[in-house]
C-alpha cells in the first residue's frame, strides 16, 4: 500500500463550510436588513459565495475522480471500494443539476431556502469527515507499507 500522497481533498470542503456559515449568518441587525440599500450588498454577497462554491465543485470532483482512478490502477481494491460510493454520489450530483446550464448546483435564488442550505452544509461536514478519515487511513497505509518493506 503505497498511497503516500496526502489528498488535497481533505481541504476542499473547508471553504465550503465557511462559505455556508457566511451565507447563514446574515447581519443580525434587523434594521439593517430591512434597509433597501443593504439588499444589493447582501445579494452580491450571496451571488459571490455561490459563485465561489460553484468554482470549487469541479476541482473537487475531478480530484476525487483522479484518486479513484489511481486506486484502480494500483489495484487497491479496498480503498477503491471505500471511495466508490462517494464517486457515484458526485456523478449523481453533477448530472442532476438544474437544467439551465451554467449554474452547477449552488443557485443563488434557492440556496437560502433553509432545507437546501441545511442539506449543503450537512453534505460538506460529512465530506470533510470522510476526507479527514481517509487522509489518516492513507497515512496509516503508507506507513504500514513502508514499515513492512
Amino acid at each position: 500500500m503505497n498511497e503516500g500522497v496526502r489528498t488535497p481533498d481533505g481541504h476542499t470542503p473547508l471553504p465550503q463550510i465557511i462559505a455556508f456559515d457566511e451565507l447563514r449568518t446574515d447581519f443580525k441587525n434587523p434594521i439593517d436588513q430591512g434597509n433597501p440599500a443593504r439588499a444589493r450588498e447582501r445579494l452580491k454577497n450571496i451571488e459571490r459565495i455561490c459563485c465561489l462554491l460553484r468554482k470549487l465543485v469541479v476541482p473537487e470532483y475531478s480530484i476525487h475522480g483522479l484518486f479513484c482512478l489511481m486506486f484502480l490502477c494500483a489495484a487497491e481494491w479496498v480503498t477503491l471500494g471505500l471511495n466508490i460510493p462517494l464517486l457515484f454520489y458526485h456523478l449523481w450530483r453533477y448530472f442532476h443539476r438544474p437544467a439551465d446550464g451554467s449554474e452547477v448546483m449552488y443557485d443563488a435564488v434557492s440556496i437560502m431556502n433553509a432545507d437546501i442550505l441545511n442539506y449543503c452544509q450537512k453534505e460538506s461536514w460529512c465530506k470533510l469527515a470522510f476526507y479527514l478519515l481517509s487522509f489518516f487511513y492513507y497515512l496509516y497505509s503508507m506507513v504500514y507499507t513502508l514499515v513492512s518493506f
Binding site: R24, D26, P30, I31, Q33, G34, N35, P36, A37, R38, A39, R40, R42, L43, K44, I46, E47, P98, A99, D100, G101, S102, E103, A108, V109, S110, I111, M112, N113, A114, D115, I116, L117, N118
Partner: protein, 1208 residues
C-alpha cells in the same frame, strides 16, 4: 378618535365603523323573518331588545326551545334522505339538507353584509368581502369595559361597555341607526341599559369573587367573568349545565353543547364572548396543563391594585349560579389567557371587531360569524337524538366500528356521525375533552363553522367519511377555513384566514407526529391584501422583542405593567414608557389596550431607523414590444388607452416618475423632459452594448410632464403601424431598463409578444407540438438560459421589479421569460392568442387587468420576514421573490394580489407550549413615500394526538401548499414525479388516518371529515392545466398555470383548481343576501360533473379569472329570453361575453349574482356564454373534474385507485 399624540388612526376605519354602527344592526333588527328561519328569529330578536334582567331570565328557556326546534329538522333530513339515497343518487340529498343551513347563514349575515358594504370605501376591491362578513359587532374603538370607573361620557368606555353586552346592542343600534356622524357613536348611547349592565356586571363579579378568591386571584377571575357576564347573564345559567355535563363522560357530553349554540344565535355578533366557558374548560386540562402557574401568580400581582377597587365597588354578591366548579374553570381560563393576553384586556374581542370592522370581512369563521351556529349543531344533534337505536348495541365497539356494514339507511349522515360521537368518547378520553371547540360545520357546511365549534361534543371534522360511498362530498356552500381551536378571545384576535392560513390549524407537538400524519405543514400568506380597514400606528418607538425582534402582538403576555413576554422566543422585555399611554382611551398604564395588542393585523409607520436612504419615489417604466408581431396584435392601443385613463390614478405622490421604452430590433427611448414641445424619440441600435442616451430625461416627473406623456400615449399606437421589423431584442431592452431604473428602483412593466430573437437572452423554440398531449415526459418546464434569472437578481438588488405581460400567439418560452418576474418579485400575465379584434375576450381581459394593475396599491423596496415560535422553522418558500436570508424575503415590489407559501418543519418538540405563533412583517415603502410595516400574527394551538392533528386540517391550504410543492417538483425533477407525489400525498394521509382507526375496513376508503375533500381537490389538481397529461396542453399554458400556482393567493388559487358551479336558471331569493340594496341570490354549489348538467338548465361556472355560462339545449325559453335577451336557444350567438341589462326579475337576479361574484376578486373575470353543442364547450367541460376523460380518472375511479394503493 381624535388623533392624539403620536397616534393616528386611519380615518377610514372610523367612518366605516360608523357605517356598521348605524346601518348594520339597524337592518338586522328590521329584517323580515323569512322562510324557516322566521320563527327562529322572531323568537330571538325580541329578547335582545329587552332590558337586561328579563333577558337573563327569558333566555335559557328560549334557548332550550330553540334548541329542540332548530336542530330537529336537519336530523330528519339527515336520516331520511339517506334512506332513499341509495335509490336516487342525485343531488337531492345534498340539496335538501344543505339548503337549510344555507339560508340561515344568509339570513344572519345580512346585516353584516350591509354594514360591510356601507363601509366599503377606498381600497382596491373591497366591497364584496363584506358578504362573508360577520362583523356585526363592528362598531367601536378601544374597549375598557371592565373598568367601571371610566367616565360614562367617555366615548370609548361607554361604547365598549355597551358593546360587551350584546343583549343591548340592538337597542343601542337602533338608536344609532339615525345617526350619520361617524365619530359620534358613543354619545347617543342610551345610558340606562348600559349602566345597568355595568352594574350588573360588577355585581356578578363581586358575587363570584368575594367569597372565594383572594385578592390576587380575583382579578383574573373577574375578567373572565367580565367576559362572560358582560356578554350576557344568560351564560351564568348556562355554564353550570356545561360543567356538569362535562364532568360526566360520554353520552351527556354529546348533549352539553345545547345551550351554547342557541345562545350564540341569539346574540349574534358578539355571542362568542359568552361561550368560552363552555368551549374552554374542556380544553384546559389538556392544553394548558403546561401553562406555568407562575403566570397566574404574576397576574395576581399585577392586578392586585385593581382588585381592591373592584371589590369595594361591588357590594352585593350576586345571587348568580356561580358554583365552585365553574370558578375553577374560570380561573383556569384566566391562566390560559394570561399566556397570551392580559386578562384585563378581556373585552377586546369587541374592540377588535370595532377596529378592524370591515377589515376582516371574511373572518366568517371567527366567532363573529355568529350566524353560523345553527347548522353545525344539527349534525350532532342528529347524532345524539336520532340514531340512538343502533348505538346501544354497538356501544362497545371501537372507533369506526361497523360503519361500512351499517344499514343502508344510516350510511349517509346519521350513522357515521353517530359512530363518531360514540367512539370518540369511548376511546379518546383525553381527546374528548379537547373536542368541543373544534370546527364542527364541515358536514353540512363548513362555512358555518363559526360558533358551532364550541357546540359539537365531538369534532365534526373527525367524523369518518366513507369516501367511496358518499356521493356528495362537496358541501352546498363554499368551503371556509377551519377555525383554530383556541379560546374565544384568542380566536377573535387571531389573524384573518384570508391573510394568513396554516395547513394544520392544530400544530403537532413533534416532528414525529407530523410525519405520522403525512400531511404537509406550511403557511399560506396573502400579506398585502386589500383591506378596508387597518389600524395604522404612528409611534416613536415600535415595540419589539429585543432578542428575536418580534413585533408586539395580541398574543404576548404582560407579566406586569412594565414587562411583557415575547410569545416567539419567550424573552421578557420592558414596556417602553411611551407604550404605557394609550391615546385612544387617553389613559395611562394600560399597555394591553394599545391597538398593537388588540389587533393581529396592524400597520406601523416606521421611523427613520428603518431606512438608510430616503424612501424611493414611485417609478414606473413601461417597456413595450413594437415589432411587427406586436403591432399586428394591437395591444398598444389598449395599453395606451388604459394608461391615459388611469394616469391620474397611478399610485404615487408628487415625486412619481414615469418612463417609456419601446423595442424591436433596436431600442427606442423617449425623452419627455418638461419644456420640450413634443416627445423626443431616441433610437439606440447598438444592442450588444446598450447605453442610455440621456440618462436624466428618460424617467420624468409625472406631474410636470403630463402633457408630453399624454401626447406620447396618443401617438404611440400609430407610430409603428408600418413597421416591418420582426425581430425582438428583449434582452438588451431589459438591460437598458435595468440601467435606467438602478438609481431609484421601481416597477418595470414589460410587454412582449414573441420569442426574443436578438441580442442577449435570445431564445429558441423548444416546444414540440406533437408532444403536447404526451402522457410521458413533459420537458422544458425550466428556463433555457439563466440570463433572465441573473437580470432579475440584479433588478432585485436595485429594488426593481419586472412585471411581464406576455401576449403571444405562438410559443414564447414563458418558462425562461418568467424568471425575470419570479426572482424580482414581479407578476406575470399571459394572454394566449391575443388579438385585439380577433379575440375580443382576451382584449377585454387585458383591459380589465390593466386597469387593476395600474391602479392597485403598490409597495416598493419591501422585505418580508416571517417569524415563528421557537421550535418551528421555515425551510422552503414559494412565490415571487428573492430569498435573502433563511427567513427574509426580498421583494422589490409588493402588490396586493401576491400570495406566498412557506413550508415548515418542527425542529424541537413543542411540549412546553400550548400555543404557537407566526408573525409576518412586511416592511415597504408606500407609493406616498412612507416607510411602513404591516404585521400579521397568527396563533395556533399545539396538540399531541394524531386525531387532533387530523381534526385541524385546513384542506384548502394543504392543497395549495401541495400545488406549490408539486410545481417545484415538476421543474426540478419531472412532471410525472410531481403527479405521483400528489397521488401519494392522498394515499399516505388517508392510509395514515386509516391506521389510527382500530379496525380498518379494507373495503372502505375512510377519511376524516376534515379531509374528505382532499382526494377531490388532488384529482382536480391533477386535471389542472399545470399538471395534466394526456390532454393537449401548450407548454406556455402549462408554465403559466404553474407560475400562477406559485404566486396566487389561496382564494384565487382554489377557484383555479376547483371552480364553483352554480345552476342559475332557477335563481330564487331564498337565502339571498343583501349587498348594497341589491338582492344577491345564493344558489347551492353543484359538483363538477356532467351528471349535474341538465339540458333544461343553465349553469354558471366560476373559474376565478373566467366565468362560463353553459346553456343547455332545451333550456327554458323564458330564461333565454329574460336573461340573454334572445327568443330561443338557436338564436343565441356563439360568442357572447355580456349579459344584457334586461328589466326582468331573473335577469336582475342573474346579473346581481354575477356582479357579486365579480366584486369579490381583484381581476374582474370575463364571461363566456357557452351553448351546448358549441365548439367552446370543450373548454367548459375540461373543468368538470369529477368526470372521466380519455386520459384521466373520474372521481370514483380515482378513489378506487387510491384505495388500491392503500391496500398494497
Amino acid at each position: 378618535m381624535h388623533p392624539s399624540s403620536g397616534y393616528r388612526l386611519h380615518p377610514q376605519n372610523y367612518i366605516a365603523a360608523s357605517g356598521h354602527y348605524s346601518q348594520g344592526p339597524g337592518k338586522m333588527t328590521s329584517l323580515p323573518p323569512e322562510s324557516q328561519c322566521g320563527d327562529y328569529y322572531s323568537g330571538l330578536y325580541p329578547v335582545p331588545t329587552h332590558s337586561p334582567t328579563p333577558s337573563t331570565v327569558s333566555q335559557p328557556p328560549a334557548a332550550q326551545q330553540l334548541y329542540s326546534r332548530g336542530p330537529l329538522p336537519p336530523q330528519m333530513m339527515g336520516s331520511s334522505p339517506g334512506s332513499f339515497q341509495g335509490a336516487a343518487p342525485s343531488a337531492s340529498h345534498l340539496h335538501t339538507s344543505a339548503s337549510q343551513p344555507y339560508s340561515f347563514v344568509n339570513h344572519c349575515s345580512n346585516p353584516a353584509v350591509y354594514s360591510a358594504n356601507s363601509s366599503v370605501a377606498s381600497q382596491g376591491f373591497p366591497p364584496t368581502c363584506g358578504h362573508y362578513a360577520m362583523s356585526t359587532v363592528s362598531n367601536a374603538a378601544y374597549p375598557s369595559v371592565s373598568y367601571p370607573s371610566l367616565p360614562a361620557g367617555d366615548p370609548y368606555g361607554q361604547m365598549l361597555t355597551s358593546q360587551n353586552t350584546p343583549i343591548f346592542r340592538p337597542v343601542k343600534d337602533n338608536s344609532f341607526s339615525g345617526q350619520s356622524t361617524p365619530i359620534s357613536h358613543p354619545s347617543p348611547l342610551p345610558p340606562p341599559p348600559s349602566q345597568q349592565q355595568q352594574q350588573q356586571q360588577q355585581q356578578s363579579l363581586s358575587g363570584y369573587s368575594n367569597p372565594l378568591w383572594s385578592a390576587p386571584g380575583l382579578q383574573s377571575t373577574q375578567d373572565n367573568l367580565n367576559r362572560n357576564h358582560t356578554a350576557s347573564p344568560a351564560t351564568a345559567s348556562n355554564n353550570p349545565v356545561h360543567t356538569d355535563l362535562l364532568s360526566r363522560p360520554v353520552m351527556q357530553n354529546a348533549q352539553s353543547p345545547k345551550p351554547s349554540p342557541v345562545v350564540s344565535t341569539v346574540l349574534s355578533g358578539t355571542s362568542a364572548t359568552r361561550t368560552p366557558p363552555a368551549a374552554n374548560h374542556p380544553v384546559r386540562p389538556v392544553a394548558s396543563a403546561t401553562q406555568p402557574s407562575e403566570l397566574l401568580q404574576h397576574k395576581g400581582m399585577q392586578y392586585g391594585e385593581y382588585v381592591n377597587n373592584q371589590a369595594s365597588s361591588a357590594p352585593t354578591p350576586l345571587s348568580s349560579t356561580s358554583d365552585d366548579e365553574e370558578e375553577e374553570d374560570e380561573d383556569e381560563e384566566a391562566g390560559v389567557d394570561s399566556s397570551s393576553t392580559t386578562s384585563s384586556a378581556s373585552p377586546m374581542p369587541n374592540s377588535y371587531d370595532a377596529l378592524e370592522g370591515g377589515n376582516y370581512p371574511d373572518m366568517l369563521s371567527s366567532a363573529a360569524s355568529s350566524p353560523a351556529p345553527d347548522p353545525a349543531p344539527e349534525p350532532d344533534h342528529a347524532a345524539t337524538l336520532a340514531p340512538a337505536a343502533p348505538q346501544p348495541t354497538k356501544m362497545s365497539k371501537p372507533f369506526g366500528y361497523g360503519y361500512p356494514t351499517l344499514q343502508p339507511g344510516y350510511q349517509n349522515a346519521a350513522a357515521p356521525l353517530n359512530s363518531g360521537v360514540q367512539s370518540s368518547s369511548s376511546m379518546y378520553s383525553g381527546f374528548q375533552q379537547y373536542t368541543q371547540p373544534y370546527p364542527g360545520g364541515n358536514q353540512l357546511s363548513s362555512s358555518l363553522a363559526g360558533l358551532s365549534l364550541q357546540s359539537s361534543p365531538q369534532p365534526e371534522s373527525l367524523r369518518p367519511v366513507n369516501l367511496t360511498q358518499e356521493r356528495n362530498v362537496l358541501p352546498a356552500t363554499p368551503v371556509w377555513a377551519p377555525v383554530p381551536n383556541l379560546n374565544v378571545d384568542l380566536r377573535k384576535l387571531n389573524c384573518s384566514p384570508d391573510s394568513f392560513r396554516c395547513t394544520l390549524t392544530n400544530i403537532p407537538q413533534t416532528q414525529a407526529l407530523l410525519n405520522k400524519a403525512k400531511l404537509p405543514l406550511g403557511l399560506l400568506l396573502h400579506p398585502f391584501r386589500d383591506l378596508t380597514q387597518l389600524p395604522v400606528i404612528t409611534s416613536n418607538t415600535i415595540v419589539r422583542c429585543r432578542s428575536c425582534r418580534t413585533y408586539i402582538n395580541p398574543f404576548v403576555s404582560f407579566i406586569d405593567q412594565r414587562r411583557w413576554k415575547c410569545n416567539l422566543c419567550y424573552r421578557v422585555n420592558d414596556v417602553p414608557e411611551e407604550f404605557m399611554y394609550n391615546p385612544l382611551t387617553r389613559s395611562y398604564g394600560e399597555p394591553h389596550k394599545r391597538p398593537e395588542v388588540q389587533n393581529s393585523t396592524v400597520e406601523f409607520i416606521a421611523s427613520s431607523d428603518y431606512m438608510l436612504r430616503p424612501p424611493q419615489p414611485a417609478v414606473y417604466l413601461f417597456v413595450l414590444d413594437v415589432s411587427h408581431n406586436a403591432v399586428e396584435a394591437g395591444y398598444l392601443a389598449i395599453l395606451c388607452q388604459s394608461l391615459l385613463e388611469n394616469l391620474d390614478k397611478l399610485p404615487g405622490d408628487s415625486r412619481t416618475r414615469i418612463g417609456f421604452m419601446t423595442f424591436d430590433s433596436t431600442i427606442h427611448f423617449y425623452n419627455l423632459q418638461d419644456g420640450l414641445s413634443q416627445p423626443q424619440m431616441l433610437i439606440v441600435s447598438d444592442i450588444e452594448d446598450v447605453f442610455l442616451p440621456t440618462p436624466d430625461s428618460l424617467l420624468v416627473n409625472l406631474c410636470e410632464s403630463k402633457e408630453l406623456i399624454k401626447d406620447l400615449l396618443n401617438a404611440l399606437p400609430n407610430m409603428f403601424t408600418n413597421t416591418r421589423e420582426t425581430h425582438s431584442a428583449l434582452g438588451p431592452a431589459l438591460q437598458a431598463a435595468f440601467k435606467l431604473m438602478s438609481p431609484t428602483g421601481g416597477r418595470v412593466s414589460v410587454f412582449q409578444t414573441q420569442l426574443p430573437s436578438m441580442g442577449a437572452g435570445l431564445l429558441q423554440s423548444r416546444e414540440d407540438p406533437n408532444q403536447r398531449s404526451s402522457t410521458k415526459v413533459v420537458q422544458h418546464l425550466g428556463p433555457a438560459t439563466d440570463f433572465y434569472k441573473k437580470l432579475a437578481l440584479d433588478c432585485s438588488g436595485q429594488q426593481t421589479a419586472v412585471d411581464l405581460f406576455l401576449l403571444s400567439s405562438q410559443y414564447s418560452d414563458l418558462a425562461s421569460l418568467a424568471c425575470m418576474s419570479k426572482y424580482s418579485a414581479g407578476c406575470i400575465y399571459y394572454y394566449p392568442s391575443f388579438h385585439c379584434t380577433h379575440n375580443p375576450s382576451q382584449a377585454e381581459k387585458l383591459q380589465k387587468d390593466l386597469k387593476r394593475y395600474l391602479t392597485r396599491k403598490i409597495g416598493f423596496e419591501a422585505v418580508m420576514r416571517i417569524r415563528c415560535t421557537k421550535g418551528l422553522s421555515m425551510h422552503t418558500f414559494h412565490g415571487n421573490f428573492f430569498v435573502r436570508s433563511t427567513d427574509l424575503l426580498s421583494l422589490a415590489n409588493i402588490n396586493p394580489d401576491a400570495g406566498f407559501a412557506v413550508q415548515l418543519s418542527i425542529e424541537e418538540n413543542l411540549t412546553d407550549t400550548s400555543l404557537v405563533c407566526f408573525q409576518t412583517a412586511l416592511l415597504y415603502t408606500s407609493s406616498k413615500g412612507e416607510r411602513r410595516i404591516r404585521v400579521h400574527t397568527l396563533c395556533l394551538p399545539v396538540v399531541s394526538s394524531l386525531a387532533d392533528v387530523y381534526a385541524g386540517v385546513d384542506v384548502q391550504a394543504a392543497i395549495c401548499l401541495l400545488a406549490n410543492m408539486a410545481v417545484d417538483r415538476s421543474i426540478s425533477s419531472s412532471l410525472s414525479d410531481a403527479r405521483d407525489a400528489l397521488v401519494n400525498a392522498v394515499v399516505d394521509s388517508l392510509s395514515a388516518y386509516g391506521s389510527t382507526l382500530s379496525n380498518l375496513q379494507h373495503s372502505a376508503l375512510i377519511a376524516p371529515s376534515s379531509l374528505k375533500l382532499f382526494p377531490l381537490y388532488v384529482l382536480a389538481l391533477l386535471k389542472q392545466k399545470a399538471f395534466r397529461t394526456g390532454t393537449s396542453t401548450r407548454l406556455d399554458d402549462r408554465v403559466y398555470a404553474m407560475c400562477q400556482m406559485k404566486s396566487q393567493p389561496l382564494v384565487h388559487l382554489m377557484k383555479m383548481i376547483h371552480p364553483n358551479l352554480y345552476r342559475i336558471d332557477r335563481l330564487t331569493d331564498e337565502g339571498a343576501v343583501h349587498v348594497n340594496d341589491r338582492v344577491v341570490p345564493q344558489p347551492p354549489l353543484q359538483k363538477l360533473s356532467a351528471e349535474k348538467l341538465t339540458r333544461e338548465g343553465a349553469f354558471l361556472m366560476d373559474c376565478g379569472s373566467i366565468f362560463y355560462i353553459w346553456i343547455g339545449k332545451s333550456c327554458d325559453n323564458n330564461f333565454i329570453e329574460d336573461v340573454l335577451g334572445y327568443p330561443n336557444f338557436a338564436s343565441v350567438p356563439q360568442k357572447m361575453t355580456h349579459l344584457p341589462e334586461l328589466d326582468t326579475l331573473s335577469s336582475e337576479r342573474t346579473r346581481s349574482f354575477i356582479t357579486w361574484l365579480r366584486d369579490s376578486r381583484p381581476l374582474s373575470p370575463i364571461l363566456h356564454v357557452v351553448k351546448d353543442e358549441s365548439p367552446a364547450k370543450a373548454e367548459f367541460f375540461q373543468h368538470l373534474v369529477e368526470d372521466r376523460t380519455e386520459a384521466a380518472f373520474s372521481y370514483y375511479e380515482f378513489l378506487i385507485h387510491v384505495q388500491k394503493q392503500i391496500c398494497k
